[in-house]
Subunit: 366 residues, 4 copies
């Protein structure tokens, strides 16, 4: 694996590295970690890889690695959003598979451009919508698809955070509140889109209409930091998406509740190894990692016995495990890619535009 | 106390009786429990009061009780919504104080009529917005008023239930889904209005605008059973109100989260004797009933040592304790009355109308 | 009902009054609230009953009330432990039924004396082991009796408190650390005995042997304030009982876990309206108040719909409801009385003596 | 790193591999994974390392690796308990550092033999008492050492599991119930010892006396599967240790509660990224991963922002990170080693012997 981005001070680069390598199917061996040649070499050293393979730019990495017998097999894109498109295009043009951090690109136009590229190439492309990697999330999806809740009527998905309630300080905060680097969406693009993706993933239903209420609450901020979006799903199910970065004290409280005609299910990322399943007859089951009742998929993705907590890094690693399966020619039907990426960009774009216009219900048009 | 409504099969009548009598300041001695004379007498017997004082109608009760030296001092109105207005008016006209179950009346027009009556009389009138009786809810209100969270930015208030996810069976369910008895609002009037009231109570801020998304999800239902309402508060704080009666497995999960510039607070009715207080510096305090740090108000309303759970009946009793204070000539500034009642009726009416019209943001106009 | 004890500053007197009256089957009309005549009259006034019926001693109350057509039907004993025996004997001798706060008496010798009295009279006698009044506790008992867990193997019952971690201040604390008023047991008699009773109640099994480890942790204290007791139950099940009053921050965290060959159940008083039921096949059910799956007993004892929290006062009231049933000639098989009282006194006495002697396993001998 | 044990079907081998490699300071390159040559090669292939470096025995590995310029720098011992001694001795004799799964050895005699060896060599030796690697556990230790709770009075440490409630099936279960492979202790050696180690680690106090109550509850089992041990710590603090493998439904619920004169702290492995801190003044703080108030140690050991759950693998990796620090010549004062290993063996041995003899309080003698 070659990494694009992930240099000094990055949060998500080391996360991708750990996730990729957790199952020993993948090894980080090169990177264009920074556009500054010296910093990229330094990053290579920090990752304990050959400093020669810390390249100053993507083109240099692709060219040099192609020439090596032990060159990289794919790239992982972990830059700020505004470099996602160029990075992915360069790799795809060279025939190198891409796994990219979300969102797909900084803008919808860019996403459409990338989609066009992907439409013309068979080279694999995947997106790390991390939360779809949790075994219990996948179990929910499978049970819901199998009819555990009957027809879906209502979805409430929330992603509360509080870390941007004060001034945005530090490298991680700064680019997220800067339209030039983050794109048109702030909170909606950073975490709202995770909630959107999770809702579609778990229910198997597409969102067809949105009514967004976005705002920049902290004075002087250019991008939204607090979002509520009313949802309609295909088939008529109703939904609400709440995402915020100004809710003081909230850490990373992604959670989803899905209700159908005959049952309800509730999952929370802060306690990710279980979900609650309510049935219309009044009984409630607590489904836990390691339970014999879990399907093959969830069982295969659980590395240690139930009760030993597995978390975010393991969920992330499950996406890389899927990607390795794809690279070996296998199938990984739950791995997010072009479709999920484009849908999420349409979601961000529609929410930002409709909210700016004060529009009411607005269709999501791919 | 004389009760109006609360006859055989009623849920809320016995609750009011227990709540009223819990502190031994009030005793149920009479009632117009049913419009059927026999059933009213039977109800009196079931409550173990003199069957003679089980009257066939309100007028009879008011007249007979007035003639007794030990006659009632006030009435408690616990009928279905469509009888709230007539009951309250009759009592007030006779100079008898009224404590009424919410909502104030079945329709906004009726509420305005009752408000006009109340404007012309000094007779006390109160409304049992039950959840404002929880000691920890009052503690939150006081701390927020004292600046514990700084300027309020965001409020999320939820009232999920699931008991109307199937067919509406039983006396309790049937009148709630019948516009003739419940009024124009279904879920929004039954529980959404509790959430609305709680949000205004805790924050001390008035809601100024709403964007309602109401629906009757269960096929064939005439009234809404699932509601989302976007909110704006005076001063600009943003909010979301979620109420539903079709979320399978949810019992009575009223909860509220309030976030300001410098902190956040979270309270849940299903664990009512504590709330969480997050501060901007990253620390989190768990505030519990019985803590020495609690204010006088919360301490006075707690009957037993911390850790012995107090619940819904005790919260309800706190409202009756307040009402008894008022009847004795004292002050009970947190007891809901005309203002809260009228605001809540405007809220219901605006949500129902605006949602029917597909309107977007709509002002709450008193 | 006439009350013995429960005068000014008492905690448990008002609790008994509320519990007794909650269902309107019982009314407090008299009391020997204090051995000081003036204070007893004052207490009567505070309870809003006729001051004439605030008597200076038990004998006076029994005599005067017997002479009244509306005299008391039974007494409730809520004094500190050292007056339990005399109070109960006086009432029983007058043919007046007794419901008493636990423990039965201050010492085992006294308990045997009372047992002898009870053996010679048909007058009803009951003990308020409060926690057996929780609907979900009774549901556990019934399900376990019906075989839900198979043969019981292990019981862990805990009652952590922290309020005596510092100096014992206030009326409630002072008598509990004074052997002359509390009896030989401190923590073991105040709360350990509740845990003991709960364990026997829920499992339906008698404790046959104990290995107690009691200590007075706070310097200068004469009675134990921290207790661990290893248990053996009839049939061989193993157990552990933990009770403490010096665990800073613990409020009233009574909880019990029961494990058998085919399942486990967990209940916590701080969240009393649910328990968890684990099955050997790996599934876990959350059983909640209001569930349709609950038995008749638990359903009958639940006053309000599921999700509206019911707590300690309602559990306490369920014992008085049972007692009223007995007074009317009915049966209340779950209501604790002589047997439970005597067993608990043997438990306290054995633990205190064996611990003082440094004994190891010691039989409970009735 | 070279691994000893960890071949096909092993649970803990892959866990050590992931933990060791998580921070990219260590790489698994060789192993004596099985005493069967073919299986050892196969295991090497499964781990994706050179099959040549899958050796049939420890001696062969040590010799061959010593001859390589890129040979192993240390070994990780992950065999069943009865091979811990021989494996560690062989490596130490060759001057190769050892990190070993717990317990130190199968018996106390073996542990004393290993201690003697370690007393004569400066070669590093560490033991993976995993739970000491949790950042919040270390934070508790530091705060307690700094006086956050005052003098410690009481410790309750529990490790409930249920997976051996039925027949012991599967490779993991079988050796644990076999004295020849597990040693004299069953549950006490497998998980009780973790609880013991955690209690000493968090409090900084040594256990001086024990009163063990061990039993083999499942019929036909040779080793204990359910343990309660009363504890005394230096300075007089009282304690209770509960460990069980027959509590149906319990997964891996290690938890510890520590109470001192001025406060209490509670941590649970099933929610490892937070602990509760009660203070004598009645306030309660919830301390969470990522809080600014955390010390350097806990902060350094947290890889991702607060709210993204970290779990067991990350805690395990923290021990390997410490070990890498030691190998580079640095200090890792919290890393368990000889002292903790020997103490834990004395604990197991004393509990097994004293329980078999029906002894009461028994000193822990090193």
């Amino acid at each position: 694996m070659g990494m694009i981005g992930g240099g000094p001070g990055a949060f998500i680069g080391p996360v991708h590295r750990i996730a990729a390598e957790l199952d020993r199917e993948i090894e980080l061996v090169a990177g264009a970690f920074s556009s500054d040649a010296g910093r990229s070499r330094a990053a290579a050293e920090a990752y304990r890889i050959d400093p020669e393979r810390g390249y100053p730019d993507v083109a240099a990495m692709l060219e040099a690695e192609r020439a090596r017998p032990d060159g990289i097999d794919f790239v992982s894109v972990v830059t700020p959003n505004h470099n996602h498109l160029a990075s992915a295009k360069a790799a795809l043009a060279a025939g190198v598979p891409v796994i990219s951090d979300k969102p797909m690109t900084a803008t919808l136009d860019e996403a459409r451009e990338l989609a066009a590229v992907l439409g013309r190439t068979p080279v694999p492309y995947a997106l790390t919508f991390t939360y779809t990697g949790y075994p219990l999330v996948r179990e929910m999806r499978e049970r819901i698809a199998a009819g555990a809740l009957g027809t879906i009527r209502k979805v409430v998905v929330e992603y509360p955070q509080g870390w941007l309630a004060g001034e945005a300080e530090g490298k991680q905060a700064e680019w997220r509140v800067d339209p030039a680097r983050a794109g048109a969406g702030g909170c909606i693009g950073d975490i709202g889109v995770h909630a959107f993706n999770l809702a579609e993933f778990v229910t198997g239903l597409a969102v067809t209409e949105v009514l967004p209420d976005l705002a920049a609450v902290v004075p002087g901020r250019a991008l939204d930091d607090d979002c509520t979006v009313l949802l309609r799903f295909q088939g008529g199910a109703r939904g609400v998406l709440l995402a915020s970065q100004i809710e003081v004290g909230e850490l990373n409280g992604l959670r989803i509740r899905v209700y159908g005609e005959t049952g309800g299910m509730i999952w929370r990322q802060e306690s990710p190894n279980a979900f609650t399943w309510h049935r219309l007859d009044g009984t409630t089951e607590l489904v836990r990692a390691g339970d014999a009742s879990l399907g093959e998929n969830a069982t295969a993705l659980t590395r240690i016995p139930g009760g030993h907590p597995e978390g975010y890094l393991e969920a992330f690693a499950n996406l890389y495990r899927d990607f390795a399966t794809v690279l070996r020619g296998g199938r990984a039907p739950m791995l997010p890619g072009l479709t999920e990426g484009l849908r999420s960009m349409v979601f961000i774009d529609t929410c930002v535009r409709a909210s700016a216009e004060g529009a009411c219900w607005t269709e999501l048009t791919l």
